[in-house]
Amino acid sequence: MKGREHTNRAVIDRLPKSGERPEVIYRYAGDRFILLEYGDMVLDLRTNFRIFGLNDAIKKARIDGVIETVPALRSMLIHYDSLKLEPAHLVDILKQLESDVPPVESLIIHSRRIELPIAFEDRYTRADIERYVKYTRQDAPNIINGHNIEYIALYNGLSSKQQVIDYICSTQWWNACIGFWPGLPFMFPLDPRYAIVAPKYNPTRPWTPEGAVGIGGPCVAIYPVASPGGYQLFGRTLPIFDLQQRNPAFKDNPILLRATDRVEWQPVSDDKLEVLRAKVFDGSYRYKIVSYEAFHVKSYLKFLDSIKDEVAEFQRKQADAAKSAPVP
């Protein structure tokens, strides 16, 4: 313990920031796990890309004694067998691997592109929102005309429900992490010109249908099962989790999405979605998954640079709107 600050004893080691690479902090998380963190306690997709670069490097290194890695938004939990591997030694290996991870701008991440149909303001999310008004909170400011999309418009300074829908469908959504529930993706817009945000329900909504799609803060999630929830809802999509494996997409794993997937939304009518969902369960639907694409961070960063003025303008408008919008 000598030499370590009393209030910060979990920190084993640090790698100072170097060029593009943020600071790396290695912490104990008990006696069988190491928590590795990048940079400050903020979410930056570049940091998330680097997490997957490192995850690949760890997998390739086949470190004897590493049981499992759990990548998150800006951190990674590493489960190791403490009877085989000393944490100090593991940290040395991890520090070494940092130099094997290409700088983020030259990272090429294996990333599947997945098209999912979405029925905006479908009957099931509408029914659960109606129940919320009836039984939980009558005066919820985030529910306008029986749904959340008009509130999202208000909160982001968009002119109409249709514009919110256009925004949601104008960008790919990067699945940065799966967590909280089996198969639940935390997705962020790759095109920040369409980066809508929304505060959460208050109090929490006791019901959400399986397949519901919603937003909390900057993050879009799909509910793998019917559950309580706090996100403002868009509508409903296909199942993303099926333990009964009723569709070939679930044959190897009952969980559809992986971190690093990019989701694109295809708007469909409520009736059409019902038909597609039935086809998922009878096994005849084929999920639209393109699995051979790679995500080139370099061209993405170039793209970000090319739109930065538009992004700044959107964010200004958005901040103004949020100031005058009611919060649940």
Binding site: H6, R9, F33, V70, P71, L83, F180, V225, L243, I255
Partner: protein
């Protein structure tokens, strides 16, 4: 699967689930690890009936089930606490840490009233005949994954067994029950986010006594005690992956210990993490029990775990045969419980 070949649930107990040592390798998909709250007792129960350590058994939580044998014969053992009471003739009381041979039609209560521990394990020779989900038979009650239909047992269920008949032989038992160390402090490693707390909070954490509240299930255990103040960094962190035994502190300042069914990611700072050797000891606590925390280094934690594994090996080697027809008098058992109860209260 014939519905008449197994253990029929007459009454399910508080929450009886199928658990093995856990579902590893799927946390990156958001799937909780689950598995036995107290893996040590699970391993002892399995060892007694001659099963490999990762064989799925019944985890009894707070109070146990009544079951009817619907196979030709079976052998079970209870570990972790409680007694097994055969209520059909010949009526018998079998202490925990001892195997018992049962025949079709026998009805027994297992861990009907746990007193010293919140959980106990009923291992069945040969295990259960269920399909693993993602490599494990553990039940995640919240995610409805694994075990018996993804849920705890209900009256009328028939838990299918892998073996319909077992040999008659001498029964096995531990000559002495594992030593009671419940009064000793729970050892933790600081962090991973101990730097989100004031120096005062860290001091309070290691000096104050916390009480296990009624909000205690397989996901976690909410404690009540002196408030732990976050420093100026606040109590919101970008969600990261969490481990079993992590002690997270939300805005209320009241710590929550995350247990086997905890969700894979979370957004509150973790002041400390219970060392792997002490996770079963925490899980055995009951609502109303007191907890004191003690810091150790990771090196010490590793040594404690190695010693614990060696201890367990010794315990396994001490298993002896016992008279299969031994009938323990109820008074004898109850007095045993009473004595240990007094010892507990004195500490």
């Amino acid at each position: 699967m014939s519905a008449t070949c197994g253990l029929k649930v007459i009454s399910p107990g508080f929450q009886t689930t199928v658990q093995d040592l856990g579902r590893f390798g799927y946390q990156a998909f958001g799937v909780p690890v689950s598995g036995a709250l107290d893996h040590l007792s699970l391993r002892i129960a399995n060892r007694l009936v001659g099963n490999p350590p990762n064989t799925a058994a019944l985890e009894i939580f707070l109070y146990g089930p009544t079951l009817e044998v619907q196979v030709k014969s079976t052998r079970v053992a209870l570990a972790g606490g409680g007694v097994l009471e055969v209520t059909t003739a010949p009526r018998r009381l079998v202490s925990s840490y001892q195997t018992v041979y049962l025949r079709r039609g026998d009805v027994f209560r297992a861990g009907a009233s746990l007193r010293r521990s919140s959980c106990a394990y009923l291992a069945i020779q040969g295990g259960v005949a269920l399909e693993p989900v993602l490599g494990s038979l553990s039940t995640s009650v919240r995610a409805k994954i694994g075990g018996f239909r993804g849920r705890s047992l209900r009256a009328g269920d028939v838990l299918p067994l892998a073996v319909y008949e077992v040999e008659q032989r001498a029964e096995w038992a531990l000559p002495a029950v594992p030593k009671d160390d419940s009064y000793q402090p729970i050892r933790v490693v600081l962090g991973p986010q101990d730097d989100y707390f004031t120096t005062q909070a860290i001091e309070t954490f290691f000096t104050a006594e916390y009480t296990v509240t009624e909000e205690f299930d397989r996901m976690g255990m909410r404690l009540a005690g002196p408030k732990l103040e976050h420093n100026n960094k606040g109590y919101d962190i970008v969600s990261d992956a969490i481990t079993t035994g992590a002690i997270q502190v939300p805005g209320s300042g009241q710590p929550i210990i995350l247990l086997a069914d905890h969700q894979t990611t979370g957004g509150y700072p973790k002041i400390a993490t219970i060392i792997s050797a002490d996770i079963p000891r925490v899980a055995r606590k009951r609502p109303g029990d007191k907890i004191k925390f003690m810091p150790v280094s990771v090196e010490e934690a590793e040594q404690i775990r190695r010693d614990q594994e060696a201890e367990l090996e010794k315990l396994f080697e001490s298993i002896r045969t016992t008279d299969p027809n031994r009938i323990t008098e109820p008074e004898e058992l109850y007095s045993l419980n009473l004595i240990s109860g007094v010892v507990n209260a004195a500490d």
